[in-house]
């Protein structure tokens, strides 16, 4: 009895020990010091129809060496390494790349993908397919299109952040331009409108002598139609697009209040929400942009006394007009010039008028340019700032004018 008990205990104990070997994951064991963490990847078109994959790999360093670097390099010294390889597909290039790296490439932390515009003009869907299919790649990684070669962007050494992927991630989280993840892009590709958009980035000119110490920043939006890039719009036009897509978060708007041509009132948008309401009337397709929000006055270069409600009213009116102007520019550029529905009009009509949509969806390319957009904006000025001394007590010269 006692002996049997002992044997049972010994068996149980050995089971625990054996399971600790198995828990490591036997065939799939991956030690951290055998992995190369990719933080960003760039895909370029190379001359002979192949793709060139460039990856940015994080170099883990001990604390002592890092301090040494800081002393010598004045910050921003490379703690990343970048390598590139060519291949017929990204996956193909990846295996070539692995030949040049002593560590196993690990994609789990890759949060940024940059495509150069030559590749974007040929279409990105096949490359996005790789991002969605590979088990290690994340659907939340952000996509960008660059005017320069993605390779050049990845070789930059940002002075403030750890590496370029961090810079781009932070920049796009401000929502100044579009912020598109791989999932969003795939959704746009199979969406009703057949058009998609990605943020466009460019290298920021650097101070002379420190050519590599700069960043890439979002300058506008690349517009795709049928999966291929057909053009781009600049920063200010993108703002109008963001209003239509309900993606506006941060904005500073300066207006010239009625009749005063010598100064601006600048406002920071606190919160804004927009909505597009589709309407089909007598065969005419219309969209109403409905936007509400609050803003703060942050600067006043006019001599208006903004503390009085009578004066705030026309400023608010101007604010509405300014927003309308921004949206109209975006409509002109994207709707009339490119005929690419990146605003989500197609989805809106589909959702509200499923029956009409089913009949007319083949004609969407003809309908879209003629869709009329009207506005119903209601942006309030909530706060006139901490201090209003100067504009309440204008200088004598200004008063006499």
């Amino acid at each position: 009895m006692n002996f049997e008990f002992m044997i049972k205990k010994a068996l149980l104990f050995s089971l625990f020990i054996i399971s600790s070997f198995i828990l490591g994951g036997c065939w799939d064991q991956q030690e951290v010091n055998d992995l190369a963490f990719v933080t960003a990847a760039g895909i370029d078109k190379s001359e002979d129809g192949k793709v060139e994959l460039t990856v940015l790999i994080f170099i883990p360093k001990g604390k002592s060496s890092q301090q040494g670097m800081e002393g010598g390099g004045g910050g921003g010294a490379a703690d990343t390494l970048f390598r590139s390889a060519e291949g017929k597909t990204i996956a193909d290039a990846m295996s070539t790349l692995q030949e040049k790296l002593p560590r196993h490439i690990f994609w789990g932390h890759c949060k940024v993908f940059i495509f150069d515009d030559d590749l974007a003009k040929e279409g990105l869907s096949t490359h996005v397919d790789f991002i969605l299919r590979h088990p290690q790649l994340r659907e939340r990684s952000r996509l960008f299109v660059s005017e320069e070669k993605a390779k050049d962007i990845l070789s930059l050494i940002p002075p403030l952040e750890r590496d370029i992927s961090e810079v781009l991630k932070e920049l796009s989280s401000f929502r100044i331009g579009m912020d598109v993840t791989a999932k969003d892009y795939a959704q746009m590709l199979i969406g009703d409108s057949n058009a998609s958009a990605l943020p466009l980035i460019k290298i920021l000119p650097s101070t002379p002598g420190q050519e590599k110490q700069t960043i890439a920043y979002v300058t506008g939006t690349a517009i795709f139609k049928n999966g291929k890039m057909i053009g781009d719009i600049d920063d200010s036009v993108t703002r109008g697009v963001l209003w239509l897509r309900n993606e506006i978060r941060l904005a500073t708007i300066s207006v010239k209040p009625n009749g005063k041509n010598d100064g601006f009132v600048s406002m920071n948008l606190l919160r804004a929400k927009s909505k597009i309401i589709p309407l089909i009337e007598n065969g005419k397709w219309k969209i109403k942009l409905y936007a509400v929000g609050n803003s703060n006055i942050v600067q006043n270069t006019t001599d208006l006394d903004l503390s009085s409600p009578e004066i705030i009213k026309p400023v608010e009116k101007q604010l509405k007009f300014e927003i309308k102007k921004r949206v109209n520019i975006a409509l002109w550029e994207v709707q009339e010039r490119m005929n690419a529905d990146i605003f989500g009009f197609a989805e809106a009509f589909h959702q509200k008028y499923p029956k009409i949509w089913a009949k007319q969806k083949k004609r969407w390319d003809e309908i879209f340019p003629s869709v009329e957009v009207s506005f119903d904006t209601n942006i309030k000025i909530q706060n006139q700032g901490m201090n209003s001394v100067l504009s309440n007590h204008p200088l004598k010269g200004v008063e006499n004018k």
């Binding site: 036997c26 065939w27 789990g108 088990p135 939340r140 999932k183 959704q187 969406g191 509200k352 499923p354």
Partner: protein, 369 residues
């Protein structure tokens, strides 16, 4: 009776929840979305009707034969020869279905995490754990699931809560764009999952509180339906049309969570839910199969059957489909009819004959009396 243990009806309900849901959360949202589009969240509601029906069937059969399981009353209803044939069909069916579950488990672990580990190791190690539970008997399985399931459900709901900020309600519209047909069509595959509820007929004889069996059975169906609706709504609101293109939408949804840049990469939670849930599911099916086999051959104990059948299950799992595409295709097409005919068709047939028999016996009894 071979099984001496007793479980409560609530334990049975808890046990059945992951027995249906565990495999649903993987492939089914995508398969449903393929047919139902943005209406895929309605499909589980239609499908749950089959769940209620199956529980009711099992309950009524149990009313007629209170101390027998499905395999045992096959004999009593259909007579010696036909009863044995149908019983054998059922045993082969459960062998196949449990094999498929083992394969689904293996494919998922293999496809997403342990890409280099041989299938036989992944499935085999799971079978060993399940074999221990089955060896322990019904009470052990019941208590195991009492510990595991509440944690699972909680974690599962947490995943969806963390996703709220990424959801877009517009993806749900237009509701019922093409009428009821797509959502009904989409419900066929979930129906085959709901029909798995017939397995409660193996547990009804061992309930300590038989009068509550039906009630808790229905609660269990409802809980499964509720979680399926939440799953489908979340995947549709998050991915829209893309849902049908993804292999494992719930997995991708969990990966998509990112709160304040540090609460992210939560796919291991899905993995934990999945492994624990499948453990319960395989154990329940494995147990029923082992018990049924022992009853079929009129053995005095089911324990000697545990290991050989476990071995067979691993083989059936590996044989049942060569790859994930075949498996997914099978589950999305012919499997529904296969599952439904075994899990709903034959029990209805059995019940009809049993009712006729009872009526006939009563008539005979009253005539002679």
């Amino acid at each position: 009776m071979i099984e001496q243990g007793k479980i409560s009806s609530a334990q049975m309900a808890i046990m059945m929840n992951p027995s249906i849901l565990a495999t649903v959360i993987l492939l089914v949202p995508a398969i449903t979305a393929k047919n139902a589009g943005q209406d895929s969240w309605i499909s589980p509601i239609w499908a749950s009707v089959i769940g209620y029906l199956t529980v009711l069937l099992a309950y009524m059969l149990n009313k007629l034969y209170p101390n027998q399981t499905l395999i045992e009353y096959c004999d009593l209803i259909l007579g010696k020869f036909l009863g044995k044939v149908v019983g054998a069909l059922f045993l082969f069916y459960y062998l196949h279905v449990t094999g498929i579950i083992v394969l689904e488990y293996g494919e998922f672990v293999l496809g997403t995490f342990l890409t280099h580990t041989p299938m036989i190791i992944i499935c085999g190690s799971m079978m060993i754990v399940c074999a221990f539970a089955v060896y322990g008997g019904l009470e052990v399985i019941g208590r195991c699931s009492e510990i595991i399931v509440p944690v699972l459900c909680l974690l599962y709901l947490v995943i969806f809560l963390l996703l709220i900020k990424d959801l877009r309600i517009q993806n749900m519209f237009p509701i019922m764009e093409k009428g009821l047909t797509p959502s009904l069509k989409g419900s066929i595959v979930p129906q085959s999952w709901f029909s798995e509820f017939i397995i409660v007929s193996f547990f009804f004889p061992y309930l300590a509180d038989k009068d509550k069996g039906l009630k808790w059975g229905f609660i269990s169906v409802f809980s499964v339906m509720f979680l399926m609706v939440i799953t489908n709504i979340t995947t549709i609101l998050l991915f829209g049309k893309l849902t049908s293109e993804l292999t494992y939408p719930v997995m991708v949804a969990a990966r998509y969570i990112s709160i304040a840049d540090f609460l992210e990469h939560l796919e291991s939670i899905v993995m934990a839910i999945w492994v624990a849930g499948t453990f319960v599911k395989i154990t329940v099916f494995y147990y029923s199969l082992v018990l049924g086999t022992a009853q079929y051959f009129k053995l005095s104990d089911y324990r000697p059957m545990v290991l050989p059948i476990g071995f067979l299950l691993v083989l059936f799992g590996i044989w049942s489909a060569p790859n994930l595409q075949e498996l997914s295709h099978f589950l999305g097409t012919s499997a529904a009819f296969y599952f439904l005919s075994f899990q709903v068709g034959i029990p209805i047939f059995l019940l009809c004959i049993a009712l006729v028999r009872v009526k006939w016996l009563q008539k005979k009894g009253s005539m002679s009396g």
